[in-house]
């Protein structure tokens, strides 16, 4: 079960990224534009721009291994690791989730940067349409905030 704080953290404003790997153990990477923790508190759906999704989905179809990292400007960060369930094009309802995520990222960045910097940074991080919705089952959650506790496995 995903801890409450981690579920809150995923709602943002967190910068989220996904890691996969291929058969040669070469890692794949993509930025994630929003994530939804489902009611079972064990599965998560996240959204990746179509241009980046092919490699990610290919890897996941092949071996299923996925890591999702979410970090905030405060340095608080968590990583969820698990196995692929499914993928499909995002729905309109999910695009609304992504738009909301993007707004929160800009607002979060504006605590540290002027608007003229925050918006383009968010544009880089949050390009989202068309996107693919990827669902995975979380098996492990790790604290990743920099410091001596980084890498600690959390109770789930």
């Amino acid at each position: 079960m995903i801890p409450d704080r981690v579920a809150e953290h995923l709602q943002g404003p967190s910068f989220i990224q996904v890691a996969t790997r291929n058969a040669d153990l070469r890692p794949g990477h993509a930025h994630v534009v929003g994530a939804v923790v489902h009611d079972d508190r064990e599965t998560v759906t996240f959204f990746v721009h179509e241009t980046r999704a092919k490699r990610i989905v290919d890897d996941l179809e092949q071996n299923g291994r996925v890591a999702l990292e979410a970090a905030q400007a405060s340095h608080e960060a968590y990583q969820l690791k698990g196995r692929y369930v499914s993928s499909r094009p995002s729905s309109e309802e999910e695009y609304a989730v992504q738009e909301s995520y993007k707004k929160r990222i800009v607002e979060g960045l504006m605590q540290f940067f002027p608007e003229e910097l925050a918006k383009p940074i968010a544009g880089v991080e949050s390009e989202y349409r068309p996107s693919i919705a990827i669902t995975f089952r979380v098996e492990e959650v790790f604290l990743q905030t920099p410091g001596p506790g980084a890498g600690t496995k959390m109770e789930t």
Binding site: L25, P27, H29, R65, I121, V124, G147, G151
Partner: protein
């Protein structure tokens, strides 16, 4: 002339944090934010190895890594594929990284937490410019 173009250097100044992904020897991927990717020469970059660091552990088991960096003025991004080469715990690269990490730690409220243990040197395998993805907010 190496794989890294001159125009990529500002993306390695630590203004915008970078992202690194690796994979353990038994096939578990890992993602992490890093404060800076250091330009070493046209074919090599360095990543900092600090406290417990899954990235550092993974690349010693499986040398491949991928990083994503952002130019702080144009916001263009690049993907780099890397292969771990060796680690340095002294010398000019280590000293420069140590000094820059101290500066970043001071600016971000992480003084005493960010601490360089080693400079991990990687060979650049490929560089991809992601201009097609860039779009203003």
């Amino acid at each position: 002339m190496g794989l890294l173009p001159d125009e990529i250097k500002p993306a390695m100044q630590g203004v915008i944090p970078s992202h690194v992904v690796t994979c353990s020897g038994d096939g578990i991927p890992n993602a992490s934010v890093i404060s800076q990717v250091y330009y070493v020469d046209g074919d090599h970059v360095a990543l900092s190895h600090q406290f417990f660091n899954k990235t550092a552990k993974n690349v010693r088991e499986n040398r491949y890594a991928a990083i994503w960096i952002t130019h702080p003025e144009t916001f263009e991004t690049w993907d780099l594929e890397l292969a771990y080469d060796h680690s340095e715990t002294e010398g000019p690269i280590f000293d420069e990284m140590d000094m820059q990490i101290e500066a970043i730690a001071s600016m971000t409220g992480m003084k005493g937490i960010f601490k360089l243990r080693a400079a991990d040197i990687f060979k650049v395998l490929s560089v991809t410019r992601n201009a097609a993805e860039r779009k203003s907010a």
